[in-house]
Amino acid sequence: MNPAIETHNLSKSYGEVRAVEGVSLRVERGEIYGFLGLNGAGKTTTIRALLGMIKPGAGSVKLLDQPIGPNGRGPWRQVGHMVERPSAYPELSVRENLEIARRLQKIADRGATPKAIERLGLGTYADRKAGGLSTGNLQRLGLARALLHEPELLILDEPANGLDPAGVVEIRKLLAHLTKERGMTVFMSSHILTEVDRLATRIGIIHKGHLLEELDHDQLEALRGRRLEVKTRDLAAAEETLTLAGYAAIVNEDSLYLHEDHALEAPDVIATILVEEGVPPTRLVVTQENLEDYFLRLTGGAA
């Protein structure tokens, strides 16, 4: 089956500023693709190009096998989206905002609106004016609008923005459910790395308009650095002991770190050495570099 999203050498400049350059993405169907980047990295520009909202300076975009034309044509019946911060007609209620979306989406089923309201937990606010909603509920309204027509492909720009921790978990579960049960493809941009780490099956990292890396979550697991963290009551003595035993121990703040394979594979040996030399460990744990560390390493610590 052809990919859900395919861009080829996508570029876009605003005057002298190159917002996106030569971005070639490939998002397979059923994936949750996390599109990572710092603010201003080119995430929203890429998303706008995917949705035909801006004309690329160069390159092409295909969604669900259909090229996105310069006149806004695209497979929009099968695509749900939320770009940047969510917006709504402030003097209209949540229900009316969704009714407008339902009609523009050409959804005949009148039950789609109440279903979307229920799905996003907006029941209490259904008849409130959108202008009075909190940022989190406005975000839920945006997500409800994106999901109204049960799209095959969901393109979300920072979906966790403004949501409280419970809301973040709820949306994460919803997106996971939709991909698992309905086979929906999700493309989500984010700068919240933990969110992407927990949800995405594939990750693309964009930095200064360039796609630095695209990798599966499993590949990321393999690429992440591992280290053995050791804590003792006497760090200097422990460092000396381990150095004498042939390990390259690095002291950082209140811990010792060992990166060598023979240390990572046999932490019990390290524990034995330290106990025998009278500096028993108070903590001994193999930790894996998190996505944040990996991202910063890749982008040169630009955060």
Partner: protein, 262 residues
């Protein structure tokens, strides 16, 4: 056009829930009320003074309180105020999508962008028609209440036809306002444009070039001396149509192809 009526429904809902609908309706009532008051004062200045409507006895010798004068003032007022009022409506219908940042929700849907623009223009036309009818019906009521002489079914019919034509010619200038509301992403540019063209129309009138300036065309339908205005010249209609087509094409082209980067 596929999706036109749902899009029109959406536009109508936005208008119904807005304060602009009440505001423009209120603004439209001012003209016939002022006109009626004007007739009331001219008809009996002493009574108007005793009622506190005027401070000094009005000395208006040129004007007479009758139906022809009443309609002349109403039509002239509609030709001038209509340009601003209709521009206000158009600026809101198109500009609000940018000021509320909702334009992006209209771009990637199965309803084509052209359909949405057409629905917006259709709503503006209906809105303008409603306001025109309100001005005329309220005008008839005011004239009847003031009890001015000189009315006839023929005069009413003719004045109604002229008012409709004035509104139509003014409406045909609105696509330019729509374009500036879209390209300017808000209200400032379209309203500035409306004021500019209104002022330019006055200058063109003074210079004697009004017939060639489309924004001056509505005023060509109103006789300044109280007599019947002649038919609008064919070349004036042509320049109006050209301006309408250029404005419409520019608006559609902008919605179809411009970067919506905000």
């Amino acid at each position: 056009m596929n999706g036109f009526f749902p899009a029109l429904w959406a536009e109508a809902l936005k208008a119904r829930r807005s304060k602009i609908l009440i505001l423009t309706t209120a603004a439209a009532t001012i003209l016939p009320i002022i006109d009626g008051l004007f007739m009331f004062i001219i008809k009996d200045p002493e009574r108007a003074k005793s009622m506190g409507l005027i401070n000094v006895k009005a000395q208006i010798t040129a004007a007479v309180a009758d139906w022809p004068t009443f309609f002349q003032v109403l039509l002239l007022g509609a030709a001038i105020a209509g340009a601003i009022l209709f521009a206000f409506i158009t600026a809101w219908v198109f500009g609000r999508e940018h000021s509320d940042r909702t334009a992006k929700e209209l771009l990637a849907t199965p309803t084509r962008r052209e359909t949405i623009v057409t629905a917006k223009l259709a709503l503006i036309s209906l809105w303008v028609l409603g306001i025109t009818l309100l001005i005329f019906v309220l005008g008839l009521g005011m004239g009847a209440v003031v009890d001015i002489p000189g009315g006839s079914p023929e005069l009413i019919r003719e004045s109604f036809g002229t008012l409709l034509l004035i509104s139509l010619l003014t409406l045909l200038m609105m696509p330019f306002v729509a374009f500036f509301a879209s390209a300017g992403r808000g209200y400032l540019l379209p309203l500035g444009w409306a004021v500019l063209t209104l002022a330019a129309a006055q200058i063109m009138g003074v210079l004697g070039w009004a017939e060639w300036f489309p924004w001056a065309a509505p005023a060509l339908l109103v006789s300044m001396d109280g007599g019947p205005a002649g038919p609008i010249p064919a070349h004036s209609l042509v320049v109006v149509l050209i301006a309408f087509l250029v404005g419409t094409m520019a608006t559609f082209a902008w919605w179809r192809g411009s970067d919506q980067a905000r």
